[in-house]
């Protein structure tokens, strides 16, 4: 196989973090993310010749991330139900000491809610609420109409709010602590 071109290296350098974060927010556990990032960039390396530049490079990369993450989630559905490894992730950080058990617990709850969303809703919700992309950008990225993006966002928000309310009702003390 041809050695890595400077162009490929530049793509890797520029988009590594985007790919990593995208996979994490698409439901990939921290412990598995490196393997899947590797897989994404391998696909980029192999498929670079087929990229015709009709879409933005990020759109193309995000498409690969979605397929890899879907594959991952489908191959091991049990992972979706396991409490996430947000705790392990946080502990690697310099500010790990500052993060209490409560905040890690919150992260795992939030990931659990996202993991139970249908994937089309989850993707839109993540891109809008966490990546803070505009509806128009999401529509372009996912090749959807803006109306569909709005619909998915609404359904995802309703689901998220319903789950949070249920959690709060089940554990009013937890809600108070979270505040």
């Amino acid at each position: 196989m041809a050695p890595f071109s400077p162009e490929f290296r530049a793509i890797y350098d520029e988009h590594f973090e985007f790919v990593w974060c995208s996979l994490r927010r698409l439901g990939v556990r921290e412990a598995d993310t490196m393997d899947l990032v590797q897989k994404v960039f391998l696909a980029v390396h192999v498929g670079w010749g087929q990229f015709e530049g009709r879409s933005k490079i990020r759109t193309w990369l995000f498409g690969i991330c979605r397929r890899v993450a879907s594959d991952y989630r489908r191959s091991s559905p049990i992972r979706r139900e396991i409490v996430t490894d947000a705790a392990a992730m946080d502990l690697r950080r310099d500010d790990a000491a500052a993060l209490g058990a409560e905040s890690r617990h919150r992260a795992s709850i939030a990931e659990g809610i996202l993991n139970r969303m249908p994937e089309p809703q989850r993707v839109v919700f993540v891109l809008f609420e966490l990546e803070e992309m505009s509806g128009e950008d999401i529509a372009e990225l996912l090749n959807l109409s803006v109306g569909t993006v709005r619909s998915r966002l609404r359904l995802a928000r309703e689901r998220f709010r319903r789950e949070v309310k249920r959690l709060a009702a089940a554990d009013p003390i937890g809600r108070k602590e979270a505040v």
């Binding site: 391998l42 087929q50 949070v164 979270a178």
Partner: protein, 248 residues
């Protein structure tokens, strides 16, 4: 839509929602992950070259697009694993691979190359996932399984209904976009008759307002847009409807 406040922002009055979403914000890679991933990638590609899997992978990817590229990586990864296993020993191959990597100016040489990572777990042989379709409805019924803990399988008719609702809405939108608001209205009426209280009622109402506007009935469009905003102030459609209601 882009001007809507995000739920993780202080604009959201529900602190628990804000806190939960805020906890998900930072998922950036840990220090060193970038270099390590690059090294692993380089080892994998070099190993593939060593055992001559290039042509198969490139041939497989010749299809086109990201999906084909992913298929190719599966072939590639599988063959790398098989090839490494057949070799029995990494001594000679590893030396060659190491030379390949360290000879490449694109690869950082600071971090040690871990040869035991040459064979990552083989990816599952799952067929490529289809892109989500243009429909709004989720594949399953929108009833939350947690609300009905005794039911693990959601009733299919509900799901079918949502799929129908979504399909008809998509059709009506396309008709409106295509400059045919009357057909769009007719599709919407049929939808209203078949699914009077669907999950996508907000979307139906938004489309009805857009149709009224397209037909020149701005008074009705403005009135209904205002009613929509009053009824669903936090809806993702609200900002668009607000604009329509206040547009001179």
């Amino acid at each position: 839509m882009g001007d809507q406040p995000r739920w993780a922002s202080p604009m959201n009055e529900d602190e628990l929602e804000r806190e939960l979403l805020g906890s998900l914000r930072d998922v950036s890679p840990p220090p060193g992950a970038k270099g390590e991933t690059w090294n692993r990638l380089a080892v994998q590609v070099a190993a593939a070259a060593t055992i001559g899997t290039v042509s198969a992978a490139v041939h497989a990817v010749a299809g086109s697009g990201a999906g084909a590229a992913l298929q190719a990586t599966k072939v590639l990864t599988g063959k790398v694993v098989a090839g490494v296993a057949l070799a029995g020993s990494m001594a000679v191959g590893g030396w060659w691979i190491h030379r390949q990597i360290t000879a490449s100016p694109a690869v950082p040489v600071g971090a040690p190359v871990a040869f035991e990572r040459v064979a990552p777990p083989a990816p599952p042989s799952v067929p490529p996932v289809r892109e989500p379709e243009e429909i709004v409805a989720p594949a399953r019924a929108p009833i939350d399984p947690l609300e009905r803990p005794t039911k693990t399988v959601e009733p299919r008719p509900r799901s079918d209904l949502l799929a129908l609702e979504s399909r008809m809405l998509t059709d009506a939108r396309a008709q409106l976009r295509g400059g045919d608001p009357r057909s769009s209205l007719s599709t919407l009426e049929r939808l209203r008759a078949r699914v009077p209280r669907g999950v996508l009622m907000q979307e139906r109402e938004v489309l009805a307002i857009q149709i009224a506007s397209a037909l020149g009935d701005t008074t009705t469009a403005k009135r209904r847009a205002k009613e929509f905003v009053d009824a669903y102030p936090e809806s993702p459609h609200a900002s668009q409807m607000r604009r329509l209601a206040t547009d001179p």
